[in-house]
Amino acid sequence: MYQDVILDHYKHPHGRGLRDGDAEVHHVNPTCGDEITLRVKLKGSTIEDVSYEGQGCSISQASASVLNDLLVGKEIADAQRIQGVFLELMQSKGRIEPDDAMEEVLEDAVAFAGVSKYPARVKCALLSWMAWKDATAQALSVEESV
């Protein structure tokens, strides 16, 4: 479960720290007390930045770092597709063996495939992704209302 990729992201997180954003959310995982505060900054239909601060286990922290790597600079629609694929992988209970096509989409995030075998830890891996989804929806609704 603890792939080197995951440990690397945990020890050296990418894009950590809160920066300017259009929307901010705070999500917690009540079973283990993992927490994340996450901001999304949009520029037109592009994700300009995802910044975050949090505490929790290596899985939840590494997952936020991978998310930052994958989604910053992407079109929102593409990012949503990536999120959908990651969600599918995490809900696969270990049954999906990522192929090249999936690795193309998820890059480092395929390392979390093993985590999907541990029901107690899937929520840790998804924490930042759910926060991102929530924050993006909020940022979009702010944009529409102006």
Binding site: M1, Y2, L7, Y10, K11, T31, C32, G33, D34, E35, Q55, G56, C57, S58, I59, Y118, A120, R121, C124
Partner: protein, 422 residues
């Protein structure tokens, strides 16, 4: 470094005892020996109890108290015999004071509900106060919060000292003339602390408050004498003391059980029923509505026999030696902080700790990969984590079959965790 003393005194013959627990031979994760250190969550089950459960289902499975046939009579004798055994185990003055429930949580909810429905002088209402402590298991917090919300009573609690003990310095302000009930844990499941019963009971008696003791982490590990405790109610749970799940105990003083109203209604708990009203059976049946957990009660009776045959004072001595050794060894691990008393004095064998800023989930997972089973999280005592400013802990907890070698395995395992995340 290995600081194991040449001889630890007071240890049980674990080699012999472990033969009674088939599960302890299990290999996990491709052939690793299981090191089971999650005994505060649930204990393992000896062959004697497993056999008693099979024997019941194979030979005399029947409903209790109503049949006239052989099986029903044998089942009733088994179920009521278990009550005798439990009564003797806790030195209850009468077997009729032992109520079977499904677990300690139900026992505590039963008391809270009785007091909500009771007449004076026991009634908890808006002008009265309920006292608990900050180190309670959620099972001894939430029922009282519910009672307070439903009745308007005020919920108060004792805080904790930095070294993991109850802060009783303001006992006169916490327990007052308005206090109707004081409910506290005898041994904490997260801190391991053994609480000073006498001081609390003395003050409660001064003001005429009832005393409820949560003995879930005490009854499995030390002699518990309800008369010596001088409490009014004592709750504990079968699955932590070598018994099956699905069976708990509430002991209550006879005159209280006579006066207090029932909680659940149904079969078994009545004397006569008409469409307008019913009269109730005397305790304990008044509080045991419906078909009880028969096999589980019988299993608990056999568990009690098993523990008694080894001797509760010997089990206490074994765990005391284990705790002393484990704390000493754990404190050798760099960055390890024990949450709770750091000596074995007035302390049980559940030891919570943090390891630097490595999250307990990661600690637990990497230990599991080595076959070592511990508990991680807030252990259903979240206020304790808040009090000490930590999100969660890792907890190792020992029992009569635990060995110093398992402590060594834990310490080696933690070293591996540190290297892994370091």
């Amino acid at each position: 470094m290995n600081s194991r003393p040449a001889v630890l005194t007071g240890l049980l013959d674990t080699e012999g005892i472990r033969k009674d627990f088939p599960i302890l031979d299990r290999l996990v994760h491709d052939g690793k020996k299981l090191v089971y250190l999650d005994n505060a969550a649930t204990s393992q089950t000896p062959r004697q109890v497993i056999d008693a459960l099979s024997e019941y289902y194979e030979n005399y499975n029947a409903n209790v108290h109503r049949g006239v046939h052989v099986l029903a009579e044998e089942a009733t004798a088994g179920y009521e015999g278990a009550r005798d055994k439990v009564a003797a185990f806790i030195n209850a003055p009468s077997r009729d004071e032992v109520i079977f429930t499904k677990n300690a949580s139900e026992s505590l909810n039963l008391v809270a509900n009785m007091l909500g429905w009771a007449d004076e002088p026991y009634r908890v209402d808006r002008d009265t106060e309920i006292v608990i402590t900050e180190m309670e298991h959620h099972s001894n917090i939430v029922p009282w919060q519910l009672l307070a919300q439903r009745t308007g009573a005020k919920l108060k609690w004792f805080g904790l000292t930095d070294d993991g003990r109850l802060d009783l310095s303001n006992i006169e302000e916490v327990i007052t003339e308005k206090t109707k009930v004081v409910s506290f844990v005898l041994v904490s499941n997260i801190l391991g602390t053994v609480n000073p019963v006498e001081a609390i009971v003395r003050r409660a008696q001064q003001v005429g408050a009832l005393v409820v003791v949560d003995a879930s982490q005490a009854a499995p590990h030390m002699p518990v004498d309800v008369q010596a405790l001088q409490a009014d109610f004592v709750a504990f749970t079968g699955h932590k003391m070598c018994g099956p799940t699905g069976i708990g105990v509430l002991w209550g003083r006879q005159e209280l059980l006579e006066d207090l109203p029932p909680f659940l209604g149904g079969g078994e708990m009545i004397e006569t029923v008409s469409m307008h009203s019913s009269t109730y059976a005397p305790a304990p049946h008044k509080f045991e509505a419906g078909t009880p957990p028969i096999a589980q009660a019988i299993g608990l009776g056999v568990a009690v026999d098993y523990l008694t045959s080894i001797g509760m004072d010997k089990i206490l001595a074994h765990e005391h030696a284990m705790t002393e050794y484990a704390i000493g060894r754990l404190l050798e691990v760099p960055d390890l902080r024990v949450i709770g008393p750091t000596t074995a004095e007035e302390r049980g064998a559940a030891i919570s700790f943090t390891l630097g800023d490595i999250h307990p989930h990661d600690v637990g997972q990497v230990l599991d990969e080595q076959g070592i089973a511990v508990r991680v999280g807030h252990h259903c005592a979240r206020p304790v984590c808040l009090r000490y400013g930590i999100p969660a802990t890792t907890r190792a907890s020992f029992y009569l079959y635990s060995t110093p070698a398992e402590v060594d395995a834990l310490v080696d395992g933690l070293e591996h965790v540190r290297n892994f995340f370091g």
